[in-house]
């Protein structure tokens, strides 16, 4: 395993997220079956697939929340299972529902998560800047989180990723439940992060959004990555066709 990690870091200098023959079983169910996947700096890799296809499992393996049965997931050349803490320092995570402390303001929540991540270099001005970049102005930043909409909470999630200066961003259906305008705004923020050089891995059911903001789209079925499509190729209508063909097969 060390050998692979070493090869990864030497040969694929830009690769940040890397899965090699990654497998995970739950008793009879094969949740993930020998997944090979690479996301480089500045790439947005969108995982598509039916419910139960293994998208969340993939993300959880990168987060170190679960351990693979075989294969490995690595971040920046470090095996996640062996370096849980060091790899967590490199990544940011946005779940489907970003929940935060309702009694604290947006800014205080950002402060809290930066403290958890060991980032103590910021002051109030820095926090306001991060929040401003994701579209939360000061008035909002100083409001209690219990008054935030879902879209605003997802934005705080992105602000946390910005403040962590994460090399990799993992998102699990982050736009489900967002209105089209909010989802589009969210996509733009991801675009900014990509431009900054972040490697983004996002599970989603939103074909349209995937085609629009992703640099790659991977289609998963029964725990396998059945096809990877660069989005510079087909438009979103073609993507839908490819997707449905795989689903019917």
């Amino acid at each position: 395993m060390y050998a692979f990690a070493w090869i990864d870091s030497v040969w694929e200098n830009d690769s940040v997220l890397h899965a090699y023959q990654l497998s995970k079983r739950y008793r009879q169910i094969t949740a993930l079956d020998r997944l090979d996947l690479t996301v480089a700096r500045g790439e947005i890799f969108c995982l598509l697939g039916a419910n139960g296809a293994g998208k969340t499992t993939t993300i959880n393996l990168f987060l170190g929340f679960i351990k693979p049965d075989s294969g490995h997931a690595s971040i920046d050349g470090m095996n996640v299972a062996q370096h849980a803490r060091r790899t967590k320092a490199l990544l940011a995570y946005i779940p489907e529902q970003v929940q935060l402390y309702g009694g604290l303001t947006g800014l205080e929540n950002l402060d809290y998560f930066c403290a958890l991540a060991g980032h103590v270099e910021y002051n109030r001005g820095d926090y306001l800047e991060f929040l401003d970049r994701v579209g939360l102005e000061q008035k909002v930043a100083d409001r209690r989180l219990s008054t935030y909409s879902k879209g605003m909470r997802q934005k705080v999630g992105i602000a946390i990723a910005l403040a962590k200066r994460a090399k990799a961003l993992l998102l699990d259906e982050p736009t489900s439940g967002l209105d089209p305008a909010a989802a589009s705004e969210f996509g733009e923020l991801l675009g900014q992060l990509r431009n900054d050089g972040t490697a983004v891995l996002m599970a989603t059911h939103d074909l349209f959004r995937a085609a629009e903001i992703g640099t790659h789209v991977g289609i998963m079925k029964h725990g396998r990555l059945v096809e990877t499509v660069p989005t510079s190729g087909p438009g979103h209508l073609d993507l839908e066709k490819i997707y449905l063909e795989h689903m019917r097969a």
């Binding site: 009694g103 809290y112 958890l116």
Partner: protein
């Protein structure tokens, strides 16, 4: 280190935002202040009452001299006189009342037989003062753990329950470290509350800021540390906040209510008291029988002890004061052994309870506080001894006058011995009480590697 401080700061902010937390903190401090105020008022009342006793013998002199002729027998005067006893409370008694309320701080002693007068002392049972008086020690022993439980029961589970769990678990910090830091934050809050409580109470009760206060503070902090480690043990093994809460309350009930009750029951069973009331009755019966017996039947056993009066002649056919007092004393003598073994049994009970109390930190702490305040059972047994000694002293003063058939005019009231019991100032707590709390904390602490594994494994682990 900077990150830890930043996180502690965040924890305090988080706590400060919760109205319930702030209310609980304020409530405990207010409860402590009220308790201290009530205790201080009580001690002040006692001291005022005790001070008022000072002129009592003088007042009786005035009255007796006006009612009786100057040639009245001292024996007769001795019959009417009462002698106030004084048990001076330590100012700390305001903060830990112990068993003091079960015993009078003053009594009016008479020259007659002592045993019937000792009733309350003789029958008083030295229980553990559990959930008894509302004083500062109550607040620290019983309420502070509840505060710790309220503040800390959810430190390991609250994120999951708020839906923040995965976001927190994605940060480069182990659950164990996070939980310990949160516990530390609670510890700092609690140390502040305890400091405030003890300082405020000390100011209200007017005790000196000396090493006793430092000992109080040290013990209270030690006790809080015990509960913090207990919380760590329980949250490490609980999947939800509510189950942690229920377990912690169960632990509180066990240590604060069940164990004291069981220990009391054990001591009452293994150290039964053969009834002080019976000794009293027997003393009375024996004494009263003396009226119908020949005078010699009373005087012989009396003179066997007090040979100095062997030459005094006692009228055989009529009442005389020397004989009357001898009759009382012989009554006491008749049950002396019974009383002594009763007294010894009380002492054994108190000592056994003290040793057993090392088994549960709440009782150990309560007892240590009582010791410091000199309101513990052993102090009261010594108080009983001092009353017996005073009775003896009074007899030493009056018998020579009575046996010499002295008259009122020759009685110098100012020479009558006065009683004043000030519990020994040593006030040291048995080291083992403090040690037992340290030991309990240490034993729980041995589980820390296990707690650590449990906590770190529980964090977002979808594997079944």
């Amino acid at each position: 280190m900077k990150a830890v401080l930043r996180r502690l700061h965040c924890e305090f902010r988080h706590a400060a935002r919760s109205r319930a937390v702030v209310m609980a903190l304020v409530l405990v401090v207010v409860a402590g202040a009220v308790a201290a105020h009530l205790g201080a008022a009580d001690v002040a009342d006692t001291q005022r009452d005790l001070a008022a006793l000072d002129g009592e013998i003088d007042a009786q002199e005035l009255k007796l001299r006006s009612v009786h002729r100057a040639d009245a027998d001292v024996g007769l005067i001795g019959y009417f006189l009462t002698f106030p006893t004084k048990h001076e409370p330590s100012p700390w008694a305001a903060l830990s009342a112990g068993v003091s309320s079960a015993f009078p701080y003053s009594q009016h002693l008479r020259l007659l037989g002592l045993v019937p007068q000792l009733d309350s002392e003789a029958t008083g049972s030295p229980g553990i003062a559990s959930l008894g008086r509302f004083d500062l020690s109550f607040v620290i022993v019983f309420l502070v753990p509840l505060l710790i439980i309220a503040l800390a029961h959810d430190i390991a589970t609250r994120d999951d329950e708020l839906g923040i769990g995965s976001l927190v678990a994605a940060q480069p910090l182990s659950t164990f470290q996070l939980v310990v830091e949160r516990l530390f934050a609670v510890g700092i809050l609690l140390a502040g509350v305890i400091g405030l409580l003890v300082g405020l109470a000390a100011a209200i009760a007017g005790v000196k800021f000396d090493h006793t206060l430092a000992t109080w503070l040290g013990l209270a902090l030690l006790y809080a540390a015990f509960w913090l480690v207990a919380v760590l043990a329980v949250v490490a093994g609980s999947k939800t906040s509510i189950s942690a809460l229920l377990r912690l309350i169960g632990l509180w009930i066990t240590l604060c209510i069940v164990v004291p009750a069981v220990l009391n029951a054990i001591v009452l069973t293994f150290f039964p008291l053969p009834g002080g009331v019976l000794a009293t009755v027997e003393q009375r019966q024996f004494m009263n029988a003396g009226w119908d017996k020949a005078k010699a039947a009373t005087m012989e056993p009396f003179l066997a002890r007090r040979t100095e009066y062997a030459d005094v002649s006692i009228p055989q056919e009529r009442f005389s004061w020397p004989w009357y007092y001898a009759m009382h004393e012989v009554g006491d003598q008749q049950v002396a052994e019974q009383i002594a073994s009763h007294r010894a049994q009380l002492e054994r009970r108190a000592q056994t309870l003290e040793r057993l109390s090392a088994l549960a930190p709440p009782i150990a702490l309560q007892l240590a506080f009582d010791r410091l305040a000199r309101t513990d059972m052993l102090t009261y047994l010594r108080h009983g001894d001092s009353i017996a000694a005073y009775h003896e002293e009074l007899k030493g003063f009056f018998y020579p006058l009575i046996f010499a058939e002295a008259k009122l005019h020759s009685l110098r009231f100012t020479d009558i011995p006065r009683h004043h019991y000030s519990p020994p100032k040593t006030g040291t707590i048995p080291g083992f009480l403090a040690l037992s709390i340290v030991a309990a904390t240490g034993i729980l602490g041995l589980g820390i590697p296990w707690f650590r594994r449990r906590l770190n494994r529980s964090s977002i682990h979808h594997d079944d």
